[in-house]
C-alpha cells in the first residue's frame, strides 16, 4: 500500500468525526511517513508496520465516541458510543442484544409504572378532596402529594440505573476492544 492510499483509507474511515480531529490524526500519520522516509524506509514497509488503516480508524472513532459519552451523558451520545463499539465489533451483538433488550424492556416497564403513579397521584391530589373521601379532604390531598413525590423519586432512581447500565456497556466494550480483540486478531 502506498502512503496516499493509506491516508485516504484512514480519512474515509474517520468520516463523521469533527473536522479538526480528522485533520489532527491525518497530520500525525503524514508526519509518521515523512519521518520514516527520512530514516530510509519505503512507503509500503511503513504502511504495513502501521497496520490496517480501516481498523485504526475504527479504533480512533470508538475512542472518540466513548469519550463523548463520558463527558456528557445524553441519549444521543449513548447511541453514538454503542454504534461506535458495534462498528468495532467489540460488542458481540448476538450475545448482548437479547440481554440488553430484556433490561431495556424492564426499564421501560418501570418508566411506564412511574408515570402512571405520578398521574394517579395527581388525580388523587386534585379530585380526592372534592369527592368526600374517608379520611377527610386533607388526607386525600396529602396522599396525592405523597404519591407524586414517590413517583419523582423512583424516576430519579430509574435515570441513575439507566446511566449505570450504559456505563457498564461502555466499560465492557472498552475492555473487549483493548484486551481481547487485539489478542484474538493477532493469533
Amino acid at each position: 500500500m502506498t502512503r496516499a492510499e493509506f491516508i485516504s483509507r484512514l480519512r474515509r474511515g474517520l468520516a463523521g468525526l469533527p473536522v479538526t480531529t480528522i485533520a489532527d490524526i491525518v497530520a500525525d500519520h503524514e508526519a509518521h511517513f515523512a519521518d520514516a522516509e527520512a530514516a530510509g524506509r519505503s512507503e509500503a514497509e511503513v504502511a504495513a508496520a502501521l497496520g490496517d488503516p480501516d481498523r485504526l480508524a475504527r479504533e480512533l472513532r470508538a475512542e472518540a465516541g466513548l469519550r463523548q459519552w463520558e463527558e456528557k451523558k445524553s441519549p444521543s451520545n449513548a447511541a453514538g458510543a454503542i454504534v461506535a463499539l458495534l462498528g468495532l465489533g467489540a460488542l458481540d451483538v448476538m450475545f448482548l442484544l437479547p440481554l440488553l433488550m430484556g433490561v431495556l424492556g424492564a426499564l421501560f416497564g418501570v418508566l411506564v409504572a412511574v408515570v402512571a403513579l405520578f398521574i394517579g397521584g395527581g388525580f388523587v391530589f386534585a379530585v380526592g378532596p372534592l369527592a368526600s373521601p374517608p379520611g377527610g379532604p386533607i388526607t386525600a390531598f396529602l396522599i396525592g402529594l405523597g404519591l407524586m413525590a414517590a413517583a419523582t423519586f423512583l424516576g430519579a432512581l430509574l435515570t441513575a440505573a439507566t446511566v449505570g447500565l450504559f456505563n457498564l456497556v461502555v466499560w465492557y466494550g472498552r475492555l473487549h476492544f483493548r484486551l481481547l480483540k487485539p489478542a484474538i486478531d493477532q493469533v
Binding site: 508526519a31 502501521l50 485504526l56
Partner: protein
C-alpha cells in the same frame, strides 16, 4: 496460547513504557514508536490511539517545534498528572513483576 498472553502483557504495559520514555525526555510520536517497536515489538499503529487517549486523559500535552525540513514537529511532554501516574504505575509494576518473578523463579 503463549502469543495471546504476550500480546495482552504488551498492551498492558505500553502506556507505562510511553510514560517512562517521556519522563526521561520529551519526544515525538515517531521516535516513541520506533523505540517501542525495536524493544518490545509493538505495532507502530498502536501508538496514535494511545497518545490521543493519554492526551485526553491529561497525562501528556503537546507543543510544536519548528524543524529545518518540513512542517513543525509535534512533541509530547508529561503533565504533572502524567508524572504522578508514572510514579504510581512504576511502583505497581515493580511490585507485580517482583511477585511474578518470585513465583516463576521458584517453579523453575
Amino acid at each position: 496460547m503463549p502469543e495471546t498472553i504476550e500480546i495482552q502483557l504488551k498492551k498492558g504495559v505500553l502506556a507505562l513504557c510511553v510514560l517512562a520514555l517521556l519522563s526521561r525526555a520529551d519526544s515525538y510520536a515517531y521516535e516513541i514508536a520506533s523505540r517501542l517497536t525495536k524493544d518490545i515489538d509493538m505495532g507502530e499503529g498502536t501508538i496514535y490511539p494511545l497518545m490521543r487517549r493519554m492526551q485526553s486523559d491529561g497525562l501528556v500535552e503537546t507543543y510544536l517545534v519548528e524543524s529545518q525540513s518540513g512542517p513543525p514537529r509535534k512533541y509530547y511532554r508529561l503533565t504533572n498528572a502524567g508524572r504522578r501516574s508514572f510514579e504510581q504505575q512504576k511502583a505497581e509494576w515493580a511490585a507485580f513483576s517482583n511477585a511474578v518473578n518470585d513465583i516463576v523463579g521458584a517453579a523453575a
